[in-house]
Symmetry: C2
Subunit: 434 residues, 2 copies
Amino acid sequence: MKRGHTVSKKLLKNVAVYRNRVIEEGRNIEITDDRITAFPTDIADVTGYAEIIDGKGMLATPGFVNTHNHIAMTVFRSYADDMRLMDWLENKIWPAEAKLDGRTVYAQTLLGIAEMLRCGTTSFADMYFFMDNVAEAVRDSGIRACLSRGLTGITPNAAEALAENRDFFMDWHNSCNGRITVMFGPHAPYTCPEDYLRKVVETARSVGAEIHMHLCETKGEVENIRRQYGKSPIAWANDAGVFDCGCLAAHCVWVDEADIDIMAAKKVRVAHNPGSNLKLASGIAPLGRMLAKGITVSLGTDGASSNNNLDILEEMHLAALIHKADTLDPTAIPAERAVRMLTEDGARALGYTDIGKLKEGYKADITLIDRSGLHWYPRNDTLSLLAYAANSMDVDTVLVDGNILMKHKEFVTLDIERIKADAEYTKNRLFSQL
Amino acid sequence: MKRGHTVSKKLLKNVAVYRNRVIEEGRNIEITDDRITAFPTDIADVTGYAEIIDGKGMLATPGFVNTHNHIAMTVFRSYADDMRLMDWLENKIWPAEAKLDGRTVYAQTLLGIAEMLRCGTTSFADMYFFMDNVAEAVRDSGIRACLSRGLTGITPNAAEALAENRDFFMDWHNSCNGRITVMFGPHAPYTCPEDYLRKVVETARSVGAEIHMHLCETKGEVENIRRQYGKSPIAWANDAGVFDCGCLAAHCVWVDEADIDIMAAKKVRVAHNPGSNLKLASGIAPLGRMLAKGITVSLGTDGASSNNNLDILEEMHLAALIHKADTLDPTAIPAERAVRMLTEDGARALGYTDIGKLKEGYKADITLIDRSGLHWYPRNDTLSLLAYAANSMDVDTVLVDGNILMKHKEFVTLDIERIKADAEYTKNRLFSQL
């Protein structure tokens, strides 16, 4: 608490809470400034609260965490689907990305943030460019984010991009009351030659930053890197020092036992993107084997151009389903594990130490879920209903850092019609240049 | 039109329509009684319409079709998850099913129907028991359904159940202005010995009924039937005459090329249930190979106890995603194919000849989809947005047989709070007996 600051207390009353991995009905949550401070049982005297939200019938969970995104790619949502990867990239995405500017990235990022908040997401990891504009949208919207500048060593601006990521770290890391953190974003093994990757690692280490990187997304990537370096992308990244910085690794679809052992030893955190991996035909990550070795696995949507929404609850649902069929084991990724990946493990993946649980002293990033929908009846098991039956449109209220950003399905701080119009305007402007 | 009946005309104006496999913006749909009668371009004179719905910004599609369900199993939604199949059946589902009665089945069916309507579903196929009660709920709700009595030859009441299915057919087939049709429902190869199955076929043939049956759901089923009869479940069912009646085959996960050839030759229609197949760890059906042979493939949710919702739009999304990863081909099940499975091919699977398209003379089973959600922006391709980004809660208005059952997300004819309360009451009553 800053000196001279007036303490703001809020109360979420009469909610079920997901806490200690079970559901407790009929609780109250007290929030003081940006933190959860109590679960009071006596709320007869409510004079001290600036705001009280009656959550009768609702379920409170830690805010959902989306650990891999290229958020401004909302501009390409449903622009090009059902195509082979290189055809899609070379003929559609790359030519269009060349026309992006900061104004467009800001508008599209704000659209993506609004969509994520609507679905109960309170923090996300992003890797893209025009990152100052992305950070401004995060700042203005009130959401929490872990941002990295996408770095490729094979483009002419490789050195400049690395300097940008460093500046971006110095300017924004731990800003906005800690809502924004920054990582370094070497894109992938196939876009970062080893000497460049080592420069990225060195720069990240010099400022104490972690690394967000795509690893082992496709079978072809692994084959090519093995051919080029004589080792797997995981072994190669490890040898280059990536994991010593602390690493959020996106995808990890094609990892073998030796890779998994390295990842476990180096505490690599995985962003699993089932929707994107399915849609791009990348494959199905061996989640069970990674979890068995104690690796933190979280959930990401990837960009809207390969999903095509930013609905992290849907990703949880996919994760809870596909690994059962992939391993022919109906007990794989049970409901509680899926919900934990969505919340607690997501927060851990982004390096947060006081986020991801409903717990005294933790940041008040909270999602309230309306259980009045028909698909919530009859009521046999709330946790199972959340994992298998819920719909992101059930999300009713969202708090980030103690601030109410959505209340009873209405945005409190964002002008949604303007955001939609601006997204449409900047999209049309971009495509008119193609 | 019946004699003395007053013609009722309705107009859905200013909608985008999915017609001839593309999206056309800015159309109007005229409905006369239970049928689509025109797409008028001049709507200056609207005096003849009993009701006009302004669908500005919305997308009209043929009503969604859910081709495999055990609808009253909503009572077991999230009652028992993350279990092995036989453990789940023997220790949870079968003991609980033994406590079902007609009153409970009616209440739970009405809940499931309401949930399906909310998600844009206008017709469904069901296989369960207490089917008179299911038919009454269909009659009372206004939805369309193709119903069958689940028949198992290994239970003491096998003969009685078959007689029941026959009576059920005589009582309800083509009733309620054709909204209810009836099939025979031999459950599965592992519950129907061959002599019993032949009796079912004979009875179905004697009244001209088609057959709805589970086939090749699990690897174990195929192995056991091959061991027992020396042929695949498909070959075995074919030899027993099942396909000569006309057959809706649920699942078909473990079918080989020889099976697919038989299915194609006999015009078997498949109900693909991706959510249930994933959740129960049954596997992933070879959709591409079935479609390549011209087999009609449609979408089902299966019962809510193995899904755990009745959201057919989510099944379409799953179908559009999982086959890409399963075959490592990003062009598998493209958007338009997925939408067709949800509508036109679903209707064909249930044996309807004038349902499943927005076309003059077809039944007015229509779903209006609100495109104002954030995940519909920016607007690059509506068909792709429907397949990959849409959410069932976008469904705004639903008509079945020309009647408006949901209008702007409010139910017109059903008392939803009463339905939810009754579902909860009958669930509690059932479990109190265990």
